[in-house]
Protein backbone atom coordinates (compact mmCIF):
# COMPACT_ATOMS: atom_id res chain seq x y z
CA UNK A 1 0.00 0.00 0.00
CA UNK A 2 1.33 3.40 -0.83
CA UNK A 3 0.16 6.95 -0.37
CA UNK A 4 1.63 7.87 -3.76
CA UNK A 5 -0.88 5.71 -5.51
CA UNK A 6 -3.78 7.67 -4.12
CA UNK A 7 -5.95 9.14 -6.84
CA UNK A 8 -4.45 7.16 -9.67
CA UNK A 9 -6.15 4.15 -11.21
CA UNK A 10 -2.94 2.55 -12.40
CA UNK A 11 0.47 3.44 -11.13
CA UNK A 12 3.87 1.93 -11.58
CA UNK A 13 6.83 2.78 -9.41
CA UNK A 14 10.31 1.98 -10.67
CA UNK A 15 8.87 -1.00 -12.47
CA UNK A 16 11.68 -3.05 -13.97
CA UNK A 17 11.80 -6.26 -15.97
CA UNK A 18 14.94 -7.97 -17.08
CA UNK A 19 14.93 -10.97 -19.43
CA UNK A 20 18.33 -12.59 -19.16
CA UNK A 21 20.56 -9.90 -20.71
CA UNK A 22 17.78 -7.62 -21.99
CA UNK A 23 16.42 -4.84 -19.84
CA UNK A 24 12.89 -4.72 -21.26
CA UNK A 25 11.48 -2.22 -18.78
CA UNK A 26 13.78 0.06 -16.87
CA UNK A 27 12.56 1.81 -13.68
CA UNK A 28 9.32 2.92 -15.23
CA UNK A 29 7.11 5.20 -13.13
CA UNK A 30 3.73 6.13 -14.56
CA UNK A 31 0.39 7.35 -13.32
CA UNK A 32 -2.93 6.93 -15.04
CA UNK A 33 -5.73 9.12 -13.70
CA UNK A 34 -9.33 8.19 -13.29
CA UNK A 35 -11.54 8.78 -16.30
CA UNK A 36 -8.85 9.48 -18.87
CA UNK A 37 -7.77 7.77 -22.06
CA UNK A 38 -4.10 7.20 -21.54
CA UNK A 39 -1.91 6.47 -24.53
CA UNK A 40 1.12 4.32 -24.02
CA UNK A 41 3.33 5.00 -26.93
CA UNK A 42 6.59 3.60 -28.15
CA UNK A 43 8.22 1.80 -31.04
CA UNK A 44 7.98 -1.96 -31.28
CA UNK A 45 10.01 -3.59 -28.57
CA UNK A 46 9.94 -0.51 -26.33
CA UNK A 47 8.57 -2.48 -23.39
CA UNK A 48 4.88 -1.55 -23.65
CA UNK A 49 3.51 -5.09 -23.58
CA UNK A 50 5.94 -6.12 -20.86
CA UNK A 51 4.77 -3.23 -18.68
CA UNK A 52 1.11 -4.04 -19.29
CA UNK A 53 1.70 -7.71 -18.53
CA UNK A 54 3.34 -6.80 -15.23
CA UNK A 55 0.34 -4.66 -14.28
CA UNK A 56 -1.96 -7.56 -15.17
CA UNK A 57 0.09 -10.00 -13.07
CA UNK A 58 1.11 -12.06 -16.10
CA UNK A 59 4.79 -11.16 -15.82
CA UNK A 60 6.73 -10.96 -12.59
CA UNK A 61 8.61 -7.67 -12.19
CA UNK A 62 12.34 -7.96 -11.59
CA UNK A 63 11.96 -5.00 -9.23
CA UNK A 64 9.60 -2.12 -8.56
CA UNK A 65 5.86 -2.42 -8.31
CA UNK A 66 2.55 -1.85 -10.01
CA UNK A 67 -0.62 -0.63 -8.35
CA UNK A 68 -4.24 -0.89 -9.35
CA UNK A 69 -6.58 1.49 -7.54
CA UNK A 70 -3.79 2.07 -5.05
CA UNK A 71 -3.27 -1.58 -4.18
CA UNK A 72 -0.21 -3.62 -5.11
CA UNK A 73 -0.93 -5.77 -8.16
CA UNK A 74 0.47 -9.23 -8.84
CA UNK A 75 -0.49 -12.66 -10.15
CA UNK A 76 -2.80 -13.35 -7.22
CA UNK A 77 -4.55 -9.95 -7.13
CA UNK A 78 -7.82 -11.58 -8.00
CA UNK A 79 -10.07 -8.87 -6.63
CA UNK A 80 -8.19 -6.06 -8.38
CA UNK A 81 -8.52 -7.77 -11.75
CA UNK A 82 -12.28 -8.05 -11.31
CA UNK A 83 -12.57 -4.40 -12.29
CA UNK A 84 -10.29 -4.58 -15.33
CA UNK A 85 -11.16 -5.39 -18.91
CA UNK A 86 -8.02 -6.65 -20.60
CA UNK A 87 -7.29 -6.94 -24.28
CA UNK A 88 -3.83 -8.45 -24.79
CA UNK A 89 -1.76 -7.89 -27.89
CA UNK A 90 -2.72 -10.34 -30.64
CA UNK A 91 -5.45 -11.83 -28.49
CA UNK A 92 -6.08 -15.51 -28.92
CA UNK A 93 -9.10 -17.56 -27.97
CA UNK A 94 -9.86 -21.26 -28.09
CA UNK A 95 -10.33 -22.11 -31.77
CA UNK A 96 -12.81 -24.87 -31.06
CA UNK A 97 -15.36 -22.61 -29.35
CA UNK A 98 -17.95 -20.28 -30.84
CA UNK A 99 -18.07 -16.63 -29.73
CA UNK A 100 -21.07 -17.46 -27.56
CA UNK A 101 -19.27 -20.37 -25.87
CA UNK A 102 -16.14 -18.24 -25.51
CA UNK A 103 -17.92 -15.36 -23.82
CA UNK A 104 -19.98 -17.74 -21.68
CA UNK A 105 -16.71 -19.22 -20.43
CA UNK A 106 -15.24 -15.81 -19.58
CA UNK A 107 -18.50 -14.73 -17.94
CA UNK A 108 -18.26 -17.79 -15.71
CA UNK A 109 -14.62 -17.06 -14.92
CA UNK A 110 -15.42 -13.46 -14.06
CA UNK A 111 -18.51 -14.46 -12.13
CA UNK A 112 -20.66 -12.31 -14.42
CA UNK A 113 -24.18 -12.93 -15.64
CA UNK A 114 -24.15 -14.87 -18.92
CA UNK A 115 -27.35 -13.21 -20.12
CA UNK A 116 -25.28 -10.27 -21.41
CA UNK A 117 -23.45 -12.44 -23.95
CA UNK A 118 -25.80 -12.00 -26.94
CA UNK A 119 -25.89 -8.24 -26.48
CA UNK A 120 -22.10 -8.06 -26.13
CA UNK A 121 -21.71 -10.00 -29.36
CA UNK A 122 -24.18 -7.66 -31.03
CA UNK A 123 -22.41 -4.59 -29.68
CA UNK A 124 -19.15 -5.47 -31.40
CA UNK A 125 -20.96 -6.42 -34.59
CA UNK A 126 -20.38 -10.17 -34.50
CA UNK A 127 -24.01 -11.26 -34.26
CA UNK A 128 -23.82 -12.81 -37.74
CA UNK A 129 -20.97 -15.09 -36.58
CA UNK A 130 -22.26 -15.94 -33.11
CA UNK A 131 -22.33 -19.67 -33.84
CA UNK A 132 -19.24 -20.02 -35.98
CA UNK A 133 -16.05 -21.41 -34.49
CA UNK A 134 -13.53 -18.73 -33.49
CA UNK A 135 -10.88 -20.72 -35.40
CA UNK A 136 -12.52 -19.60 -38.65
CA UNK A 137 -12.49 -15.91 -37.70
CA UNK A 138 -10.43 -13.20 -39.36
CA UNK A 139 -7.98 -11.30 -37.21
CA UNK A 140 -10.33 -8.33 -37.00
CA UNK A 141 -13.19 -10.48 -35.80
CA UNK A 142 -11.03 -12.08 -33.12
CA UNK A 143 -9.99 -8.62 -31.99
CA UNK A 144 -13.62 -7.48 -31.78
CA UNK A 145 -14.45 -10.58 -29.78
CA UNK A 146 -11.54 -9.58 -27.58
CA UNK A 147 -13.14 -6.20 -27.02
CA UNK A 148 -16.43 -7.90 -26.15
CA UNK A 149 -14.56 -10.18 -23.73
CA UNK A 150 -12.97 -7.15 -22.07
CA UNK A 151 -16.41 -5.58 -21.60
CA UNK A 152 -17.75 -8.49 -19.53
CA UNK A 153 -18.90 -7.29 -16.13
CA UNK A 154 -18.71 -3.59 -17.08
CA UNK A 155 -15.24 -2.94 -15.70
CA UNK A 156 -14.26 0.64 -14.87
CA UNK A 157 -10.72 0.17 -16.19
CA UNK A 158 -9.70 -1.09 -19.62
CA UNK A 159 -6.16 -2.08 -20.47
CA UNK A 160 -5.67 -2.67 -24.16
CA UNK A 161 -2.40 -3.66 -25.76
CA UNK A 162 -2.20 -2.50 -29.38
CA UNK A 163 -5.98 -2.72 -29.77
CA UNK A 164 -5.85 -1.76 -33.44
CA UNK A 165 -2.62 -3.60 -34.25
CA UNK A 166 -2.69 -5.23 -37.66
CA UNK A 167 -6.34 -4.46 -38.33
CA UNK A 168 -7.68 -3.00 -41.54
CA UNK A 169 -9.28 0.45 -41.61
CA UNK A 170 -12.82 -0.74 -41.03
CA UNK A 171 -11.95 -2.58 -37.83
CA UNK A 172 -9.65 0.17 -36.64
CA UNK A 173 -12.55 2.59 -36.74
CA UNK A 174 -14.82 0.15 -34.95
CA UNK A 175 -12.29 -0.36 -32.16
CA UNK A 176 -11.54 3.38 -31.81
CA UNK A 177 -15.23 4.23 -31.66
CA UNK A 178 -15.65 1.61 -28.96
CA UNK A 179 -12.77 3.06 -26.94
CA UNK A 180 -14.35 6.53 -27.11
CA UNK A 181 -17.78 5.20 -26.21
CA UNK A 182 -16.45 3.28 -23.20
CA UNK A 183 -14.59 6.35 -22.00
CA UNK A 184 -17.70 8.49 -22.38
CA UNK A 185 -19.49 5.99 -20.16
CA UNK A 186 -16.92 6.76 -17.50
CA UNK A 187 -14.26 4.08 -17.95
CA UNK A 188 -10.55 4.77 -17.62
CA UNK A 189 -8.72 3.44 -20.65
CA UNK A 190 -5.08 2.67 -21.09
CA UNK A 191 -3.99 1.56 -24.48
CA UNK A 192 -0.66 1.05 -26.12
CA UNK A 193 0.19 1.84 -29.67
CA UNK A 194 3.12 2.52 -31.91
CA UNK A 195 0.94 4.67 -34.16
CA UNK A 196 1.10 8.31 -33.20
CA UNK A 197 -1.86 9.64 -35.11
CA UNK A 198 -4.04 7.16 -33.28
CA UNK A 199 -2.83 8.20 -29.88
CA UNK A 200 -3.00 11.86 -30.79
CA UNK A 201 -6.61 11.50 -31.89
CA UNK A 202 -7.86 9.50 -28.91
CA UNK A 203 -5.86 10.23 -25.81
CA UNK A 204 -6.06 12.77 -23.07
CA UNK A 205 -2.57 12.01 -21.88
CA UNK A 206 0.36 10.14 -23.29
CA UNK A 207 3.49 8.45 -22.06
CA UNK A 208 6.20 7.77 -24.58
CA UNK A 209 8.62 4.99 -23.75
CA UNK A 210 11.62 3.71 -25.57
CA UNK A 211 14.00 0.91 -24.65
CA UNK A 212 12.03 0.38 -21.48
CA UNK A 213 12.49 3.91 -20.20
CA UNK A 214 9.99 6.71 -19.89
CA UNK A 215 10.87 9.41 -22.39
CA UNK A 216 8.09 11.84 -21.62
CA UNK A 217 4.63 11.89 -20.07
CA UNK A 218 1.90 14.51 -20.43
CA UNK A 219 -0.88 15.84 -22.68
CA UNK A 220 -0.36 16.05 -26.43
CA UNK A 221 0.05 19.84 -26.13
CA UNK A 222 2.40 19.50 -23.18
CA UNK A 223 4.66 17.18 -25.04
CA UNK A 224 4.73 19.34 -28.15
CA UNK A 225 5.45 22.42 -26.05
CA UNK A 226 8.09 20.77 -24.03
CA UNK A 227 9.85 19.61 -27.12
CA UNK A 228 9.47 23.04 -28.73
CA UNK A 229 8.44 21.59 -32.01
CA UNK A 230 8.42 24.38 -34.56
CA UNK A 231 6.10 24.64 -37.51
CA UNK A 232 7.72 23.90 -40.82
CA UNK A 233 7.52 25.78 -44.04
CA UNK A 234 6.70 23.68 -47.04
CA UNK A 235 7.63 25.36 -50.32
CA UNK A 236 6.93 23.87 -53.71
CA UNK A 237 9.63 25.19 -55.99
CA UNK A 238 11.99 24.03 -58.67
CA UNK A 239 15.52 25.05 -59.50
CA UNK A 240 16.71 25.29 -55.95
CA UNK A 241 20.48 25.06 -56.02
CA UNK A 242 22.96 24.30 -53.31
CA UNK A 243 23.85 27.98 -52.86
CA UNK A 244 20.23 28.91 -52.22
CA UNK A 245 20.01 26.24 -49.60
CA UNK A 246 23.13 27.52 -47.93
CA UNK A 247 21.70 31.01 -48.02
CA UNK A 248 18.52 29.83 -46.33
CA UNK A 249 20.49 27.92 -43.75
CA UNK A 250 22.41 31.04 -42.84
CA UNK A 251 19.22 32.93 -41.93
CA UNK A 252 18.86 33.43 -38.19
CA UNK A 253 16.05 31.27 -36.82
CA UNK A 254 16.34 28.57 -39.45
CA UNK A 255 17.11 25.23 -37.97
CA UNK A 256 16.89 22.70 -40.69
CA UNK A 257 16.45 22.63 -44.46
CA UNK A 258 15.63 19.54 -46.43
CA UNK A 259 15.02 19.26 -50.15
CA UNK A 260 13.33 16.65 -52.21
CA UNK A 261 12.33 16.58 -55.88
CA UNK A 262 9.78 19.34 -55.90
CA UNK A 263 9.68 20.80 -52.43
CA UNK A 264 11.73 22.47 -49.78
CA UNK A 265 11.07 21.86 -46.09
CA UNK A 266 12.32 24.52 -43.73
CA UNK A 267 12.09 24.24 -39.99
CA UNK A 268 12.31 27.72 -38.56
CA UNK A 269 10.97 30.30 -36.14
CA UNK A 270 7.82 32.10 -37.35
CA UNK A 271 9.77 35.39 -37.75
CA UNK A 272 12.24 33.80 -40.12
CA UNK A 273 9.61 32.66 -42.59
CA UNK A 274 9.40 35.90 -44.58
CA UNK A 275 13.18 36.06 -44.76
CA UNK A 276 13.21 32.59 -46.31
CA UNK A 277 10.68 33.69 -48.93
CA UNK A 278 12.72 36.83 -49.59
CA UNK A 279 15.87 34.84 -50.24
CA UNK A 280 14.01 32.68 -52.73
CA UNK A 281 12.66 35.73 -54.55
CA UNK A 282 16.11 37.36 -54.68
CA UNK A 283 17.48 34.25 -56.31
CA UNK A 284 14.65 34.01 -58.84
CA UNK A 285 13.41 30.66 -57.61
CA UNK A 286 9.95 29.99 -59.01
CA UNK A 287 7.71 29.31 -56.01
CA UNK A 288 4.53 27.59 -57.08
CA UNK A 289 2.98 27.08 -53.68
CA UNK A 290 3.83 27.25 -49.99
CA UNK A 291 2.24 26.49 -46.65
CA UNK A 292 3.16 25.96 -43.02
CA UNK A 293 2.87 22.52 -41.53
CA UNK A 294 1.77 22.33 -37.90
CA UNK A 295 3.90 20.44 -35.46
CA UNK A 296 2.83 16.88 -35.05
CA UNK A 297 3.48 14.40 -32.37
CA UNK A 298 4.94 12.24 -35.06
CA UNK A 299 7.79 14.67 -35.30
CA UNK A 300 8.14 14.90 -31.58
CA UNK A 301 8.28 11.16 -31.46
CA UNK A 302 10.82 10.72 -34.18
CA UNK A 303 12.87 13.54 -32.74
CA UNK A 304 12.75 12.14 -29.26
CA UNK A 305 13.81 8.77 -30.42
CA UNK A 306 16.60 10.07 -32.59
CA UNK A 307 17.84 12.28 -29.74
CA UNK A 308 17.89 9.20 -27.59
CA UNK A 309 19.74 7.23 -30.22
CA UNK A 310 22.29 10.07 -30.42
CA UNK A 311 22.91 10.27 -26.72
Amino acid sequence: MTVNAFGSVIETIDLTKRFKDVLAVDSLSLKVRKGEIFGFLGPNGAGKSTTIKMVMGLFHPTSGSAFINGKPAGPDSVDLRRDIGFLPERISFYDNLTPTQTLNFYCELRGADKSVVPSLIGEVGLAHAANRKVGTFSKGMVQLLGVAQAMIGNPSIYIMDEPTGGLDARWVKAVRDKIRALNEQGATIIFSSHILSEVQALCHRIAIIDKGRLVVEGTVEDISDRLRIKPRLWIEASGVDQETISAIRSITGVEEVTVNDEALLVTCEAEARMKVMAVLRERDVAVRDFKTIDPSLEEAFVRLLSEKEGS
Binding site: K53, M56, G57, L58, F59, H60, P75, D76, V78, D79, R81, R82, I84, F86, P88, R90, I91, S92, F93, Y94, N96, F105, Y106, E108, L109, R110, G111, G146, Q149
Partner: protein, 279 residues
Protein backbone atom coordinates in the same frame (compact mmCIF):
# COMPACT_ATOMS: atom_id res chain seq x y z
CA UNK B 1 -3.00 -20.22 -0.09
CA UNK B 2 -6.70 -19.47 -0.58
CA UNK B 3 -8.38 -21.43 -3.35
CA UNK B 4 -11.81 -20.53 -4.65
CA UNK B 5 -13.74 -23.54 -5.88
CA UNK B 6 -15.89 -21.83 -8.50
CA UNK B 7 -13.02 -20.87 -10.86
CA UNK B 8 -11.53 -24.38 -10.45
CA UNK B 9 -14.88 -25.82 -11.45
CA UNK B 10 -15.22 -23.45 -14.43
CA UNK B 11 -11.81 -24.47 -15.80
CA UNK B 12 -12.42 -28.18 -15.12
CA UNK B 13 -15.80 -28.00 -16.82
CA UNK B 14 -14.30 -26.33 -19.88
CA UNK B 15 -11.53 -28.93 -20.20
CA UNK B 16 -14.03 -31.73 -19.87
CA UNK B 17 -16.56 -30.14 -22.24
CA UNK B 18 -13.80 -29.56 -24.82
CA UNK B 19 -12.99 -33.26 -24.82
CA UNK B 20 -16.63 -34.20 -25.12
CA UNK B 21 -17.05 -31.76 -28.03
CA UNK B 22 -13.98 -32.93 -29.92
CA UNK B 23 -15.07 -36.57 -29.46
CA UNK B 24 -12.05 -37.56 -27.38
CA UNK B 25 -14.17 -38.97 -24.56
CA UNK B 26 -16.28 -41.16 -26.80
CA UNK B 27 -13.21 -42.28 -28.79
CA UNK B 28 -11.36 -43.19 -25.62
CA UNK B 29 -14.32 -45.18 -24.31
CA UNK B 30 -14.44 -47.05 -27.62
CA UNK B 31 -10.69 -47.68 -27.54
CA UNK B 32 -10.78 -49.08 -23.98
CA UNK B 33 -13.82 -51.20 -24.74
CA UNK B 34 -12.37 -52.68 -27.92
CA UNK B 35 -9.01 -53.18 -26.24
CA UNK B 36 -10.49 -55.10 -23.32
CA UNK B 37 -12.72 -57.27 -25.47
CA UNK B 38 -9.81 -58.04 -27.81
CA UNK B 39 -7.56 -58.84 -24.84
CA UNK B 40 -10.24 -61.15 -23.54
CA UNK B 41 -10.33 -63.09 -26.81
CA UNK B 42 -6.55 -63.32 -26.87
CA UNK B 43 -6.51 -64.52 -23.27
CA UNK B 44 -9.33 -66.98 -23.91
CA UNK B 45 -7.53 -68.29 -26.99
CA UNK B 46 -10.38 -67.40 -29.32
CA UNK B 47 -13.21 -67.40 -26.80
CA UNK B 48 -14.02 -64.79 -24.20
CA UNK B 49 -11.38 -65.18 -21.51
CA UNK B 50 -12.05 -64.81 -17.83
CA UNK B 51 -11.29 -61.63 -15.98
CA UNK B 52 -7.97 -62.57 -14.44
CA UNK B 53 -6.39 -63.83 -17.64
CA UNK B 54 -7.93 -60.96 -19.61
CA UNK B 55 -6.35 -58.48 -17.24
CA UNK B 56 -3.05 -60.30 -17.60
CA UNK B 57 -3.09 -59.51 -21.32
CA UNK B 58 -4.72 -56.12 -20.90
CA UNK B 59 -2.07 -54.82 -18.49
CA UNK B 60 0.64 -54.91 -21.12
CA UNK B 61 -1.53 -52.98 -23.57
CA UNK B 62 -3.10 -50.48 -21.19
CA UNK B 63 0.14 -49.68 -19.40
CA UNK B 64 1.44 -48.48 -22.77
CA UNK B 65 -1.75 -46.86 -24.06
CA UNK B 66 -2.94 -45.03 -20.94
CA UNK B 67 0.31 -43.07 -20.47
CA UNK B 68 0.25 -42.06 -24.14
CA UNK B 69 -3.33 -40.82 -23.82
CA UNK B 70 -2.54 -38.87 -20.66
CA UNK B 71 0.50 -37.27 -22.22
CA UNK B 72 -1.50 -36.32 -25.32
CA UNK B 73 -4.15 -34.70 -23.12
CA UNK B 74 -1.76 -32.86 -20.87
CA UNK B 75 1.40 -31.88 -22.68
CA UNK B 76 0.09 -28.65 -24.28
CA UNK B 77 -2.33 -27.58 -21.62
CA UNK B 78 -0.11 -24.79 -20.29
CA UNK B 79 2.77 -24.38 -22.73
CA UNK B 80 0.48 -24.61 -25.77
CA UNK B 81 -2.01 -22.12 -24.42
CA UNK B 82 0.78 -19.81 -23.27
CA UNK B 83 2.27 -19.96 -26.73
CA UNK B 84 -1.02 -19.22 -28.49
CA UNK B 85 -1.84 -16.44 -26.04
CA UNK B 86 -5.13 -17.94 -24.87
CA UNK B 87 -3.73 -18.45 -21.38
CA UNK B 88 -3.01 -14.76 -20.81
CA UNK B 89 -6.70 -13.94 -21.35
CA UNK B 90 -7.66 -16.56 -18.77
CA UNK B 91 -5.05 -15.41 -16.25
CA UNK B 92 -6.15 -11.80 -16.65
CA UNK B 93 -9.51 -12.86 -15.21
CA UNK B 94 -10.09 -12.90 -11.47
CA UNK B 95 -8.50 -16.33 -11.06
CA UNK B 96 -5.37 -17.61 -9.31
CA UNK B 97 -2.87 -19.75 -11.12
CA UNK B 98 -3.33 -22.61 -8.67
CA UNK B 99 -7.03 -22.58 -9.57
CA UNK B 100 -6.24 -22.81 -13.29
CA UNK B 101 -3.81 -25.66 -12.63
CA UNK B 102 -6.21 -27.63 -10.43
CA UNK B 103 -9.08 -27.02 -12.84
CA UNK B 104 -7.06 -28.43 -15.71
CA UNK B 105 -5.93 -31.45 -13.70
CA UNK B 106 -9.45 -32.19 -12.52
CA UNK B 107 -11.05 -31.64 -15.93
CA UNK B 108 -8.53 -33.73 -17.86
CA UNK B 109 -8.35 -36.27 -15.04
CA UNK B 110 -12.11 -36.74 -15.30
CA UNK B 111 -11.79 -37.36 -19.04
CA UNK B 112 -9.24 -40.11 -18.37
CA UNK B 113 -11.03 -41.69 -15.41
CA UNK B 114 -14.47 -41.61 -16.97
CA UNK B 115 -13.24 -43.13 -20.26
CA UNK B 116 -11.39 -45.91 -18.45
CA UNK B 117 -14.28 -46.59 -16.10
CA UNK B 118 -16.91 -46.75 -18.83
CA UNK B 119 -14.73 -48.54 -21.40
CA UNK B 120 -13.33 -51.20 -19.08
CA UNK B 121 -16.59 -51.28 -17.11
CA UNK B 122 -18.72 -52.23 -20.11
CA UNK B 123 -16.15 -54.81 -21.21
CA UNK B 124 -16.09 -56.21 -17.66
CA UNK B 125 -19.85 -56.68 -17.78
CA UNK B 126 -19.56 -58.37 -21.19
CA UNK B 127 -16.80 -60.68 -19.95
CA UNK B 128 -18.71 -61.58 -16.80
CA UNK B 129 -21.87 -62.26 -18.79
CA UNK B 130 -20.06 -64.45 -21.35
CA UNK B 131 -17.96 -66.46 -18.94
CA UNK B 132 -20.46 -66.60 -16.12
CA UNK B 133 -17.59 -65.81 -13.82
CA UNK B 134 -16.40 -62.59 -12.30
CA UNK B 135 -13.82 -61.36 -9.85
CA UNK B 136 -15.33 -57.92 -9.57
CA UNK B 137 -13.31 -56.65 -6.66
CA UNK B 138 -10.03 -57.49 -8.39
CA UNK B 139 -11.31 -56.18 -11.72
CA UNK B 140 -12.40 -52.90 -10.12
CA UNK B 141 -8.98 -52.79 -8.47
CA UNK B 142 -7.46 -53.10 -11.93
CA UNK B 143 -9.70 -50.28 -13.22
CA UNK B 144 -8.70 -48.06 -10.30
CA UNK B 145 -5.02 -48.82 -10.83
CA UNK B 146 -5.36 -47.96 -14.52
CA UNK B 147 -7.05 -44.67 -13.61
CA UNK B 148 -4.25 -43.95 -11.17
CA UNK B 149 -1.70 -44.62 -13.91
CA UNK B 150 -3.60 -42.20 -16.14
CA UNK B 151 -3.65 -39.51 -13.46
CA UNK B 152 0.04 -40.09 -12.78
CA UNK B 153 1.05 -39.47 -16.38
CA UNK B 154 -1.40 -36.56 -16.59
CA UNK B 155 0.27 -34.86 -13.66
CA UNK B 156 3.70 -35.54 -15.15
CA UNK B 157 2.69 -34.14 -18.55
CA UNK B 158 0.99 -31.09 -17.03
CA UNK B 159 4.15 -30.55 -14.99
CA UNK B 160 6.23 -30.67 -18.16
CA UNK B 161 3.79 -28.28 -19.81
CA UNK B 162 4.12 -25.90 -16.91
CA UNK B 163 7.91 -25.93 -16.87
CA UNK B 164 8.67 -25.82 -20.58
CA UNK B 165 8.07 -22.74 -22.70
CA UNK B 166 6.94 -24.27 -25.94
CA UNK B 167 4.35 -26.75 -27.08
CA UNK B 168 6.74 -28.75 -29.21
CA UNK B 169 9.38 -29.14 -26.49
CA UNK B 170 6.65 -30.25 -24.09
CA UNK B 171 5.65 -32.95 -26.52
CA UNK B 172 9.29 -34.00 -26.84
CA UNK B 173 9.69 -34.20 -23.08
CA UNK B 174 6.42 -36.17 -22.86
CA UNK B 175 7.82 -38.72 -25.30
CA UNK B 176 11.03 -38.98 -23.24
CA UNK B 177 9.04 -39.56 -20.05
CA UNK B 178 6.96 -42.20 -21.76
CA UNK B 179 10.02 -44.02 -23.00
CA UNK B 180 11.60 -43.86 -19.58
CA UNK B 181 8.70 -45.91 -18.22
CA UNK B 182 8.86 -48.25 -21.18
CA UNK B 183 12.60 -48.94 -21.25
CA UNK B 184 13.42 -48.70 -17.55
CA UNK B 185 13.01 -52.47 -17.30
CA UNK B 186 15.56 -53.10 -20.02
CA UNK B 187 18.07 -50.85 -18.28
CA UNK B 188 17.49 -52.85 -15.12
CA UNK B 189 17.95 -56.14 -16.90
CA UNK B 190 21.15 -54.71 -18.36
CA UNK B 191 22.32 -53.77 -14.87
CA UNK B 192 21.40 -57.23 -13.65
CA UNK B 193 23.39 -58.86 -16.42
CA UNK B 194 26.25 -56.40 -15.89
CA UNK B 195 26.48 -57.37 -12.25
CA UNK B 196 26.80 -61.04 -13.06
CA UNK B 197 23.13 -61.96 -13.19
CA UNK B 198 21.75 -64.47 -15.66
CA UNK B 199 19.72 -62.22 -17.92
CA UNK B 200 18.76 -65.04 -20.27
CA UNK B 201 17.22 -67.03 -17.44
CA UNK B 202 15.34 -63.94 -16.32
CA UNK B 203 13.95 -63.26 -19.79
CA UNK B 204 12.84 -66.87 -19.97
CA UNK B 205 10.94 -66.41 -16.74
CA UNK B 206 13.29 -67.74 -14.13
CA UNK B 207 13.40 -65.03 -11.47
CA UNK B 208 14.76 -67.21 -8.71
CA UNK B 209 18.27 -65.73 -8.79
CA UNK B 210 17.17 -62.12 -9.05
CA UNK B 211 18.44 -59.89 -6.22
CA UNK B 212 16.02 -57.75 -4.24
CA UNK B 213 17.32 -54.42 -5.57
CA UNK B 214 16.14 -55.47 -9.01
CA UNK B 215 12.50 -55.16 -7.98
CA UNK B 216 13.00 -51.52 -7.10
CA UNK B 217 12.46 -50.97 -10.82
CA UNK B 218 8.68 -51.21 -10.38
CA UNK B 219 8.81 -48.03 -8.29
CA UNK B 220 10.82 -46.18 -10.92
CA UNK B 221 8.79 -47.18 -13.96
CA UNK B 222 5.14 -46.31 -13.34
CA UNK B 223 4.16 -48.50 -16.29
CA UNK B 224 5.79 -51.59 -14.79
CA UNK B 225 4.61 -50.63 -11.32
CA UNK B 226 1.02 -50.39 -12.48
CA UNK B 227 1.22 -53.75 -14.22
CA UNK B 228 2.73 -55.38 -11.16
CA UNK B 229 0.09 -53.82 -8.90
CA UNK B 230 -2.73 -55.08 -11.14
CA UNK B 231 -1.21 -58.54 -11.05
CA UNK B 232 -1.06 -58.40 -7.27
CA UNK B 233 -4.67 -57.19 -7.14
CA UNK B 234 -5.70 -60.47 -8.75
CA UNK B 235 -3.48 -62.37 -6.34
CA UNK B 236 -1.47 -63.61 -9.29
CA UNK B 237 2.06 -64.72 -8.89
CA UNK B 238 2.31 -65.79 -12.47
CA UNK B 239 2.82 -63.49 -15.40
CA UNK B 240 2.67 -64.86 -18.93
CA UNK B 241 3.04 -68.32 -17.51
CA UNK B 242 6.09 -67.53 -15.42
CA UNK B 243 6.06 -67.66 -11.72
CA UNK B 244 7.38 -64.56 -10.09
CA UNK B 245 8.26 -64.19 -6.45
CA UNK B 246 8.49 -60.64 -5.25
CA UNK B 247 10.14 -59.37 -2.07
CA UNK B 248 7.65 -58.46 0.63
CA UNK B 249 8.23 -54.72 0.24
CA UNK B 250 6.84 -54.90 -3.26
CA UNK B 251 3.14 -55.08 -2.50
CA UNK B 252 -0.07 -53.36 -3.49
CA UNK B 253 0.31 -50.79 -0.74
CA UNK B 254 3.84 -49.72 -1.55
CA UNK B 255 3.10 -49.67 -5.28
CA UNK B 256 0.04 -47.46 -4.83
CA UNK B 257 2.06 -45.23 -2.53
CA UNK B 258 4.77 -44.95 -5.19
CA UNK B 259 2.10 -44.00 -7.73
CA UNK B 260 0.75 -41.33 -5.44
CA UNK B 261 4.25 -39.90 -4.97
CA UNK B 262 4.75 -40.01 -8.75
CA UNK B 263 1.49 -38.07 -9.08
CA UNK B 264 1.80 -35.52 -6.29
CA UNK B 265 5.42 -34.43 -6.74
CA UNK B 266 4.87 -33.37 -10.37
CA UNK B 267 1.75 -31.45 -9.30
CA UNK B 268 3.78 -29.60 -6.70
CA UNK B 269 6.51 -28.91 -9.28
CA UNK B 270 3.91 -27.78 -11.79
CA UNK B 271 2.45 -25.37 -9.26
CA UNK B 272 5.87 -24.03 -8.35
CA UNK B 273 6.93 -23.42 -11.95
CA UNK B 274 3.54 -22.11 -13.11
CA UNK B 275 3.47 -19.65 -10.23
CA UNK B 276 6.75 -18.07 -11.28
CA UNK B 277 6.15 -18.34 -14.99
CA UNK B 278 5.82 -15.23 -17.17
CA UNK B 279 2.80 -15.85 -19.36
Amino acid sequence: MPIALRPVYVIAKKEFADNVRNKWVISLIAIFLVLAVAASFVAGLGRVGEMDVTVGVLITLSSMLVPIISIMLGYATISGEAESGALSVVLACPIRRIEVLLGKLIGLGSVICLSIFVGFGISGVLIAASTGQAEWSSYIGFILLTMLLGLLYLSVSVCISSILKRRVTSLGAGVVVFFWGAICGFIWIGMYAGTGGDAMAFLQGDTSGVPDWFWFEVFLSPQDGSGTAAMLAFGETELMGYSVSLPSWVNLGTLVLAHLIWTLIPIALAYWSFQKRDV
